[in-house]
Symmetry: C2
């Protein structure tokens, strides 16, 4: 396997040589943020939007970033060139930094990793996902923290239910899947996605932009689990998956004519956005 | 500053050389557990109890530990001898391990760090703590995960209130401070501590053992925030702090005659347990 290079300790080094010190707040106290974007045909996709969110996450978490957005873009370009992967994923990560008292933020540091990542299919998936709903609210939900403790801990529970992914809800409103946003289409062909208590995905933003441009009626508001279960279409969205239709939530099964769906329609426009 | 040794990658190495790989689940997804115990006069305190809890945390989080309890005790003894610190802290840490898909637990690994740590005073503190209450429930509360995201994030909020520590509550019942347990003494001299939704501290266990041995009446049950505010005495407990009295919670002020308090009484017995 070829050596991949990453950015750590302010330099480009082989990923095997990059480590987070055991005294770092990320290691000792789980205090860190990240963002993840896709590389297609050696181009980082929607890097401006990911950097905006990354800097916002850092700001809410009070983690100063030494590097500017322009500098980060240059480092990403260098990694893409040096690693020479046609399709890949870029992980931007801020570790809380060395804390002498094990508790106080001092000097956070930036790590940028490029990793192999298969390109999602350009064909709309017709194998719908099965979601299992679980009552849980991510802490600091609009920040992309490294906290996926519950998502990973729930994997055996999810598999035991025969599900492919988890759907979080709280106070009767659904929020998100651990790594994707959720959309529903009503019987009146209206697109709806939650307004709060979840991460604002870059693909979510692109979908809303497509809906606006294409005259698809949409609402951004709370969705109860029962309303979601009465939907005509449900799909999830993420930077790595684009759109994947949902065929089942708990006991509720959706029978979708994929080719005539709003989901499929939006998918084709999303594909075009990547050109 | 002298070099401290730690245990990482199955060997004793200088702490500067120990790092958690950037591909580890602890770094990428915040998936890890730890425990922390005090070393006094070159002896690890209550190591059996800490190891029991550590192995329980690992089990709930499905993180297999290759090393046995006996092996860990030997490593700790080696570090204490090699680092030659009279008073110190030992951190046992399990990182989720390298996950090729960034999500699945494969081979977790054990890291053991010894760090300098001042011995808490053998005099009972008469400077009571000011706690600020905050509605929050730690996820997997009976597991000592590395998730202290909220505790660190709340530091400026807490300082702004002039408080020394945070008191978590949820559904009107108090649970714990981020790094300690909470006890109250009623006007009838009954000791009470919460039963659930918090970490079961080793010092908490020792205190309940002292209460039993000394005939101090105690209850383990839910405590509302308002009941706590009507208490005669409130104190917190932890392995690094033993017992610290509380002088204020939000607006409620406690005027304590420390030398005649149940808190002070228990403190003296706790000290004796360390001999």
């Amino acid at each position: 396997m070829k050596t991949l290079y990453c950015y750590a300790n302010n330099e480009i080094i082989p990923i095997e040589k990059a480590g987070v010190p055991v005294s770092d707040l990320l290691v000792q106290r789980g205090y860190g943020i990240f963002d993840f974007l896709r590389v297609a045909n050696r181009q980082p996709l929607f890097i401006e939007e990911h950097l905006d969110r990354f800097f916002n996450s850092a700001s809410v978490m009070r983690l100063p970033i030494n590097e500017s957005k322009e500098e980060i873009k240059k480092i990403v370009a260098t990694l893409i060139e040096k690693n020479n992967l046609e399709f890949a994923g870029i992980r931007l990560l801020i570790a809380g930094g060395d804390a002498p008292d094990g508790y106080t933020i001092t000097q956070p540091h930036l790590i940028i990793i490029e990793q192999t990542l298969a390109q999602p299919s350009n064909q709309f998936s017709t194998k719908g996902l099965h979601l299992a709903s679980y009552k849980y609210q991510r802490q600091l939900a609009d920040v992309k923290t490294t906290d996926y403790l519950m998502a990973i801990w729930l994997q055996p529970w999810m598999k035991n239910k025969g599900a492919d992914d988890i759907l979080y809800y709280q106070d009767e409103s659904i929020t998100e899947c651990p790594r994707s946003n959720v959309f529903m289409v009503t019987k009146e062909n209206k697109l709806i996605t939650p307004a709060k208590n979840m991460l604002r995905g870059v693909t979510r933003k692109n979908i809303l932009q497509v809906a606006k441009a294409q005259g698809i009626e949409f609402e951004i508001r709370d969705i109860t689990l029962s309303e979601l279960k009465s939907a005509k279409e449900v799909f999830i969205s993420s930077s790595t998956k684009r759109i994947l239709p949902v065929s089942q939530i708990d006991e509720q099964i959706y029978n979708l004519n994929y080719s005539k769906s709003i989901s499929y329609n939006i998918f084709t426009y999303l594909l075009a956005l990547e050109k």
